[in-house]
Each structure stands twice: as C-alpha cells, then as structure tokens.
C-alpha cells in the first residue's frame, strides 16, 4: 500500500468507528483527538480494525504512533508495504 492508500484506509476505519464525524477536512499533521471526538476506546477500535482488515499488530508501546494521520502513515508504511 502507498502512503495515500494507508491514509485512506485509516480514514475508512475512522468513518466506521466515528460515523458522526466530518472527515473531509482532516489535517494530516494535527493530532486526531484534537480534530475529532475520539477517546481511548476508539483508538483501541482503530488498532482492532488494523488487525482484522490488514493483519497488522500495533503493540501498546506504539499506540502514540497513531496520534495523527501523518504519524500513522509513517508508522504503518513498512507494515503495509506488501498489502
């Protein structure tokens, strides 16, 4: 997957777990929690969906890597490069 495909994959997951949110103006470099009504259970949902959809494991120590779209793309690129 390319970075842009990874970005879209994350947005697709967020659209499912936070269906009331408007996602068209999300800024890549700003923390997701500053832009969206997401709590810790929602982040666990993102981790779960990455596991279910892409067989990707995100260890607890790396959760902060999912803070923004930009950091998520950097973190997930090597894990998803063959997906």
């Amino acid at each position: 997957m390319t970075k842009q495909q990874i970005r879209q994959a994350i947005l697709d997951i967020i659209a499912d777990i936070a269906p009331d949110e408007e996602l068209s103006n999300i800024k890549d470099d700003v923390r997701l929690r500053e832009q969206l009504d997401l709590d810790s259970m929602d982040f666990l949902d993102i981790v779960m969906e990455l596991r279910k959809r892409y067989n990707v494991e995100v260890p607890e120590a790396d959760y902060m890597q999912l803070a923004s779209l930009a950091s998520s793309m950097i973190y997930l690129e090597p894990k998803l490069k063959d997906k």
């Binding site: 269906p19 009331d20 259970m41 666990l44 779960m48 279910k52």
Partner: protein, 425 residues
Amino acid sequence: MQLVFCSGKLKKHMSYNSRIVITGIGLTAPNGNSLADFRRALLTGKSGVRPFTTRYMGAVLAGVCDFDELRHQKKKELRRGTRAGSIGIYCANEALKDSGIAWDKIDRSRAGVYLGVTEHGNVETENEIAVIKEYNYDTKFWSHHHNPRTVANNPAGEVTLNMGITGPHYTIGAACAAGNLGFIQGLQMLRLGEVDLAFAGGVSESIHTFGIFASFKAQGALATHADPTKASRPFDRDRNGIVVSEGGCVHTLERLDDALKRGARIYGEIVGYACNTDATDFVLPNPERIGQCMAAAVKKAGLAPSEIDILNTHATATKLGDIQECQAVRTVFKECPKLHVNNTKSFIGHAMGAAGALELTGNLPSFDDGIVHPTINVEHLDPECGLDNIVLNEPRRIDKVRYILNNSSGMLGINSAVIVKRYEP
C-alpha cells in the same frame, strides 16, 4: 413522606409525598413506537409478530421493533452501545418529552433509572464468539467493548450516559417479571426519598440472541404458525409456545406533590404492588404463589379483589403456564363480576424484560376510553383457560375503569404484580 414502623410492619400514611404517579410514557413495541400507536394497534387487532432470521437457526418468528434509533442517539453511541441500551434511551427520552419536565432546570443527581431485564449480555457474547470464529477462535479479536456492553447495569447505565443522569441507576434482573419490578423499584426509590424523579420500566433485546430461541425450542416452548400474526395465542387450545420479542417501556414516576406543583398530566397512580417467589421449580410457575402475589398487591392497595376492573395476564401461550395462571386468577378473583381479563402477548409476543411494563401501559388508556383491549388469536378457547369476562378477539367497552392490575412471572419462580389506579385527587 411519613412512614411509621409498627410491630415490624411498615404502615404508610398516604400523604402526597408517598403517592407515586405516572407522568410520562415512552415505549417501543413490535406494533407501535408511542402509546397512541400501541393502543391503536391493541384496539384494532394489529400484531407485531413477523418472520425473523436468527443466527444458526435461520427462520423464526419474533416481535421486532422499528423505532427511530437516531432520534435520541448519535451514530457513534448506537455503535458503541447495546440494543437494550438503545431501546432504553429511546423510551426514557420519549417519556421525558411526554412528561413535560423542564429537563434543563432539574437536578439530575436526584433522578434515577430502573430498568427490568430478563437477561443481558447474551447478545454481545454471541456476537463476539461469531467474530472470533472467523479468526480461528483467536481471542485477540475479542472486542474491548464486550465488558461495558455486558455488565448487568448496561441498559440503565446507557440511559444515564445519554441523558446526563447522575442519580442511582439499576438494571433489575427478574426474568419475565422484570418490567413490573422496574416500576416497583422506581416507586420505592421515590418513597425512600432517594430520588425525585424515576425513569422506570423494562427493556428487551432478546430477539438478537439465538440462544433464547434455541433454548425455548429445546424446551418445546417456541411458537410456530404458518401465519406469524397468529403465532402468539395464549389461552387458545392449539397454542404451541412463546414468540420472543424485543421492546421497551419507560415511565417517568414522580411523587404526587411534585407532579401537582408543575401541573403534570397524570396517567395513573401506582397504588399496589407485590413481588414473591415460588421456590418450587426452575421454569414451572406455581399457581399458589402467583395467586398470593396478586392477592398481596390487592391488599397493599387497600382493595378487595372485586374492585379490580382489568387484569392483564402474563400468559405466554405455553401449554401448562397459561393454565397455571388461570388457576391463580380463579382462586384470587372468584365472585368478581366486574373484573375483565386480557392478554397483550397475543399481539406482540413475549417482550421479556419489557413485557410487564408494555402490557400494563397498553391498558392505561382504558381509564380514558373505558375499553378493554382483547386477547387476540383465540379460535378455540382452551376450557382450562376459561375465565369469567375474558375478553377475546374484539375490544369490549365496560363501565368506568378505576383499577388495572398487571400480573407477571418468570423463571426461577419470581412473580410480580402492579396495580394502577385512575388518578383521583
């Protein structure tokens, strides 16, 4: 509130503080999403039973609700919570709206939520097992939402989260006697002065667990019929079991003085209630104890059995259960010529934790219209279920209705009865 303990018994001085009245109603039933729609369905013979598909078993019959889930919840709340929570939220918000209470002006730490359930958690556990089955039963795919969805206080707790209620909330597990128990708990909390406003009733999400269908089928107690609308047929000779249903009903309960102060519409006053236990069998009802429970409610209301106008039965359309309840009714209500008997499950199936609450509530308009809704689907009345003034298939207009009794009972031998009186100052 004035309460006096005397010789170990609680004697009540019925002041305006201890009189508890119903001031708002919110409900969803398989045949209506408001009291007006529900009542219309009960008077026009409209069933809410339809074909339904459940996991592993395929086609079954069920009472299915179609309320607007997003009227009071965001999509995210709906996704995160349970069906029982969603039903509770809809009903509680509708009851609040109906009550006319100025929600932004009241102290929400003095409000409480009391919802009866038959069971809770089976739906979510079955769902999670279905998920991990897709991953070779690897439990790392088990949701972190499972615990908050399955804790026993979930349905009432979701209502508090949605409405910002910070008083005490309980989900009351009482099998199929639970709807009445929700009302009783609310009444008791008001009389104890623990809250000033109670959201009370019952909810059922049971059609979303295959286990309840499979277990009733294994018990030989799951209804079948070529016409789904005729499947639930208490008292009929050919009845063959229960139609499982979902639904919910919540009342706002207040002390009479509070209701009068704000000029509330009063649907009725809860004047009697009782709960007891068979202690005889896991599933088979005990007519003696059921009778004792109804008699205790009548006594607590300070009435004679002959003063009850409408008795809404629990009968679920099982062969033996209906007969057992009829025996109890005959024993307690002998020589009661003005008593009329009906049954709501014939329309909506068995709404489990919501059953008692919906069934009582569907009869409350009788105070205004003087009509007893019938028991439908009785083509051949079982002689063993023959009761004086049982209202079959067509509504019946009677004289002024002053007292309505709802009877409920459930597995492990729990019985409950609630009596509501037409409001009279």
